[in-house]
Point group: C2
Chain length 520, copies 2
C-alpha cells in the first residue's frame, strides 16, 4: 500500500518524544536529535466544502483567468511560453481559456522527493507527507535578552543550528531571517552555504533575482553532482505572485530557473484580504487558485515534468487599523478549501504554519499559531513553511517562539499518527487485569506501553503548582529562552566532506570577487 | 432543512465582532453584548476513523460491559433498574449483554432545548449546535494582581458577570469555581441563585448530593414554574463516573434526580490514561464509551425520554512525573473518535474546551487550550464545558485566561461559519473593478462587505511593532487583565422579576435554616 519512496518514513520510529524520550532517540540516531525524516499523515484531511461549491470556486477562477487575465511583466520568455501554449497574449496581459492551465499541469508530478545531503533526511513532498520547515523572510530577529534587532548572518546560522538540533523539524528552510550584515547581492551565497554547512537536511535557495536562483542551484550541484541534480530535486525556491493578478519578471525568471534545472518552485500568492484580494474568503480563494495555477503551469512550460508545489498564503486584515492579521479564523478555514482544490489538481501543497501578529512569544502568539498550524496539517499541506519562529506578522524571527513552535511540531507528530486500533491499543486485557475501581499504574499493559504512550513536551510545565512555584514560577517564554541557549551550546555540526566544503568556499569567493557589494 | 427549534439561531445576526463591531451589536441587542444564542456549525465534523475501526471500539466496549461489568455502589434503586432492564446483577456488579444499553438508549432525545429565563438566550443541545460554557469546578482562582488563592462567592459571581458580559459565551456554566467561603452543604443554593440573579443564560445545578441536585432543580422551578420544568429542560447536572468502571451513589442518585425531573444529566467519565484508564488511546476511548453508555442508559430507566448528554473527558499524564496533562495531542485526536461514537448512538455530545496545565495565562496555556478547543468544535461537540478560564490543570480559574478564551470563542463563531459560497463572496465583480496590479482598498465590493468581513479580536494586538511599543509593549495577559476589570466595571445585571427573586431568597433562607453548616 505504501509507495516505495514513502517507505523511508515508515521504517523510522513511530513515536518520538522530547525530554528523556528524545534523548534516547538522539543516542540511537546520531549526535543531533531527529525523529522521522518527515511525517506520513495517518488521519484523513479535513474536507469542509461540497463538490458543488468547489466547482463554483473553480469556475470563478476560470472566469478570472479567461475574462480578466494575469499580467506577466517584463519577461518575454514567459510570454512566448504562453503564446505557444495557446493562451491569449495582448501586450503583457495573458488570458486563458478554461481548461488550458489544467491541461498544461498534467505533466507536473503529484509527489516527489527532495533529497538531503544526508540521505536519511530526504523528504517526500506530496501524498500523505507532512514536512515542517522554519519561518522564512523576516528582516528582524528577537529574543528575550536583546529584544528586536535586524537579523545577521550569525542569527541566520543560529536558526539553522536550532532547526538541525530539533527532532521535530524536517527541513532547514530558506531565508530564515534576512542577514542584513551581508550585501544583498551576495547574501544568497552565504545563506545557501550556511544551510549546507550547518545542516544535513533539505533546504531552499534564493529567488530574489534569476542569477541568484541559478547560483543557489549551482551550489547544490557542487554538493550533489550535476547528473544527480539534473534527475532529482535537491533545492526549493519559494516565489510569490505580485497579487492581484500580476507576475513580475523577478519571480517568473526565478521560477523558470528552478524549473529549468528540474528543481521545485513553490508558487505562492500572498493575499491579504481587502488589500491584494477581496475581503470575502471565497473570492480570495478563487484568486489564489487562479494565480497559483498560472505560476505552476509556467514551470511546466519551462520544463515539462519539473516538480512544483501549489502554495498559498491567505491572510486577513484589521479593518480598524489596516494592519495585516495572521492566525485568524478566516485564513484557517480557507486553508481547508485550498487543500481540497490542490488535491483536485493533483499537486503537492504548501501552507503556512505558525502565524501571529503578536510581538512577544505570549498567549496571543500561541493561540494564533496553534490555530494556523492545525489548519495547515488538517488541510493536507505537504510542505509547511513558517512552522517555527514566526512572530510580529512575519517581520521578526523569535528565538523563543522557534523553540515553542518546534515543540508543537513534536506534538503534531503524535497527533497526525491518529488513533491506532489493534488489540494492544484496545487493551481489553488491561481491563481484565485491573477491573472496576482499581487503577492502571503499574499494570502489565501500562508497563508494556508507557514508554511510548504520551507526547512529552520539552517546553510545557506540567508540574503541580507548588513544584512549579518552588522552581521559580517560570513562564513558557523563560523556559524557551533557556532551551534555545542550551540547544546552541550542545549543537554539533553534521559532518561535511572536505572537498565539497572547499568547492563551495571557492565558488563563493569567485562569485563575490565578480561584483561590487550591493546593499539594495 | 433547518429544524424549527434551530431557527432561533439562524435568525440571529450571522457575524458578530468584538471591538467596534461588538459594541454595535451590543447597542442592538441590549446592554450586555451578546452574539447568537448559540452556534449552528456550518462545517462538517472531522471524522477520522473508518466504520470498521469504530465497530472494533464498540465491540471492545461491549466486551468490557459484558465480561468485566460496571459496579454501581450503594444505590439499590439503580440496581433495581438494571435488574428490570435485564442486566446481569451480582451484588453491586452489573454486566450487560451486547445491545442491551443501546436498546435502552433509544428513548433518549438526539437533541433538546435548554431554556434560559430570557427566552432569547435558550440553547439547543444536539445536532449542529455548539454551546460554549465556562470552566467548571476549580478550588482556586487566579489573577495577575493577587496570584492564586481559594475561590470565594464573590469570585463566583464575578465569573458569572464576565460570562454574561461576553458576546461569545452562550451558557452561564455551573460550579465555575468553588466558593469556599460558603459551607459545602449550602453552597449549591448560593451558586444556583447567583446564576439566576446575575445572568439570564442557561445554567447548571449541583450534583454533589441527591438533595443538592433536587434543591437546584426546585430553585429552577421557582423561576420557570413547575409545569414548564416538568415538560422542558431548564437545568443541567454534570455527573462523573468514578473511573474505571464504577458509578458511586452520589453520582447515580444525582443523575437520577435530574432525569426524574426531566432535566439533563451530562454523563462524564474522567479518564487520565495510565491512571483511571489504560495508557493507550483506543482503550481509553472504549472504556469511556462503556461508562458513558451505562450512565446515559440509567437516566432512561429512571425516566424514559429524559434529555441526557454523552460526555467525555479524556486526558493524558506525564509519565515522568505522574502529573496529569491537558491540552495534549492524544486527547485531542481521541475526541474526534468520541464524536463519531456519540453520533452513532444519536446522543448530544459534551466535550471539554480550553484545557491546559500551565500555571499562567501564557504561551503554553493558549497553545494547549487552542488545540483542545479546536478538537472540541471539530469533533461535533454540542455542549463545550470548560470553554473559558481553565488553568493549572483544572485547579484554578483565571480571570485573564477567561477573557482570552472567551475571545477565542468569538473567533470560533467566524470559523464555524465556514466558507460561504455565493456570488457576493466569490467577488467576480470586484476583480473586474480592480483588475491586475491594483488594490482592493475602497473598491465597491470592499465597501459593501468590510464591516462584517473579518474577525476582530478584542484581546490580540495587531498593530505594527512601533505602535505596540509606543503603547507600552503589553503582552496578552496584561491586556486581558485590563479587559476583565473593564467588563466588571461596565456590567449591568439583567432584569429579574422581583417576585421570583423574593421566592428564591425565601427558599434559600428556609433551606439554610434547616441544617448546620458543613464544611466538608
Amino acid at each position: 500500500m505504501i509507495p516505495a519512496e514513502e517507505q523511508l518514513a515508515t521504517v523510522a520510529p513511530k513515536r518520538q518524544r522530547s525530554g528523556r524520550g528524545a534523548r534516547r532517540e538522539q543516542r540511537s540516531h546520531g549526535p543531533q536529535g531527529l525523529g522521522r525524516p518527515y511525517i506520513l499523515r495517518n488521519i484523513p484531511t479535513y474536507d469542509i466544502l461540497s463538490e458543488e461549491n468547489l466547482v463554483r470556486i473553480e469556475q470563478t477562477a476560470d472566469r478570472i483567468l479567461a475574462e480578466i487575465g494575469i499580467e506577466f511583466r517584463d519577461d518575454p520568455v514567459a510570454l512566448d511560453h504562453w503564446k505557444r501554449a495557446g493562451a491569449d497574449v495582448e501586450g503583457q496581459l495573458v488570458k486563458f481559456e478554461p481548461g488550458l492551465l489544467k491541461e498544461v499541469l498534467k505533466t507536473a508530478p503529484s509527489k516527489f522527493t527532495q533529497h538531503a545531503r544526508n540521505p536519511e533526511r530526504s523528504v517526500v513532498i506530496g501524498g500523505k507527507s507532512v514536512v515542517f520547515s522554519p519561518a522564512y523572510g523576516s528582516p528582524f530577529v528577537m529574543d528575550l535578552d536583546r529584544g528586536r534587532r535586524y537579523g545577521t548572518i550569525e542569527d541566520f546560522r543560529n536558526f539553522i543550528k536550532l532547526a538541525q538540533a530539533s527532532p521535530w523539524l524536517h527541513h532547514s528552510g530558506g531565508t530564515i531571517c534576512e542577514p542584513v550584515d551581508v550585501p544583498v547581492n551576495k547574501r544568497h551565497l552565504d545563506m545557501v552555504y550556511s544551510h549546507i554547512r550547518y545542516s544535513d537536511r533539505p533546504f531552499m535557495g534564493s529567488v530574489t533575482a534569476e542569477n541568484r536562483a541559478e547560483e543557489s542551484i549551482e551550489m547544490a550541484r557542487l554538493v550533489f553532482g550535476e547528473d544527480f541534480v539534473e534527475q532529482n530535486c535537491v533545492i526549493l525556491g519559494n516565489v510569490n505572485v505580485n497579487s492581484p493578478l500580476v507576475w513580475d519578471a523577478t519571480m517568473t525568471t526565478a521560477l523558470r530557473a528552478y524549473a529549468r534545472a528540474n528543481q521545485a518552485a513553490v508558487i505562492v500568492p500572498f493575499i491579504l484580504g481587502g488589500a491584494m484580494g477581496p475581503v470575502t474568503n471565497a473570492g480570495a480563494i478563487a484568486q489564489s487558485l487562479a494565480e497559483t495555477m498560472a505560476g505552476c503551469a509556467l514551470t511546466q512550460l519551462e520544463r515539462p515534468g519539473a516538480p512544483v508545489i501549489f502554495g498559498n498564503f491567505l491572510s486577513s486584515m484589521s479593518l480598524r487599523s489596516g494592519s495585516p492579521t495572521f492566525g485568524t479564523p478566516e485564513p484557517a478555514i480557507g486553508s481547508m478549501v485550498i487543500g481540497q482544490l490542490a488535491r483536485r489538481l493533483g499537486l503537492p501543497l504548501r501552507c503556512s504554519g505558525s502565524f501571529t501578529t503578536s510581538k512577544l512569544p505570549d498567549a496571543q502568539a500561541m493561540n494564533e499559531s496553534t490555530m494556523s498550524m492545525l489548519a495547515a496539517v488538517h488541510c493536507g499541506a505537504n510542505f509547511i513553511l513558517h512552522s517555527a519562529g514566526f512572530l510580529d506578522g512575519l517581520l521578526s524571527m523569535s528565538y523563543e517562539k522557534f523553540v515553542m513552535d518546534a515543540d508543537f511540531c513534536g506534538a503534531l507528530h503524535t497527533y497526525l499518527d491518529g488513533v491506532t486500533i489493534d488489540d494492544n491499543q484496545l487493551a481489553l486485557d488491561a481491563f481484565r487485569e485491573v477491573g472496576p475501581g482499581s487503577h492502571f499504574f503499574g499494570c502489565a499493559h501500562t508497563m508494556a506501553n508507557y514508554e511510548t504512550a504520551f507526547w512529552d513536551s520539552g517546553v510545557a510545565d506540567n508540574e503541580p503548582f507548588e513544584k512549579w512555584e518552588a522552581a521559580g514560577s517560570t513562564d513558557t517564554a523563560f523556559r524557551a529562552n533557556r532551551k534555545w541557549k542550551q540547544m546552541l551550546a550542545d549543537y554539533e555540526a553534521p559532518p561535511l566532506d572536505e572537498g565539497i566544503d572547499e568547492a563551495l568556499l571557492d565558488y563563493m569567493a569567485r562569485k563575490k570577487a565578480g561584483s561590487e557589494d550591493a546593499w539594495y
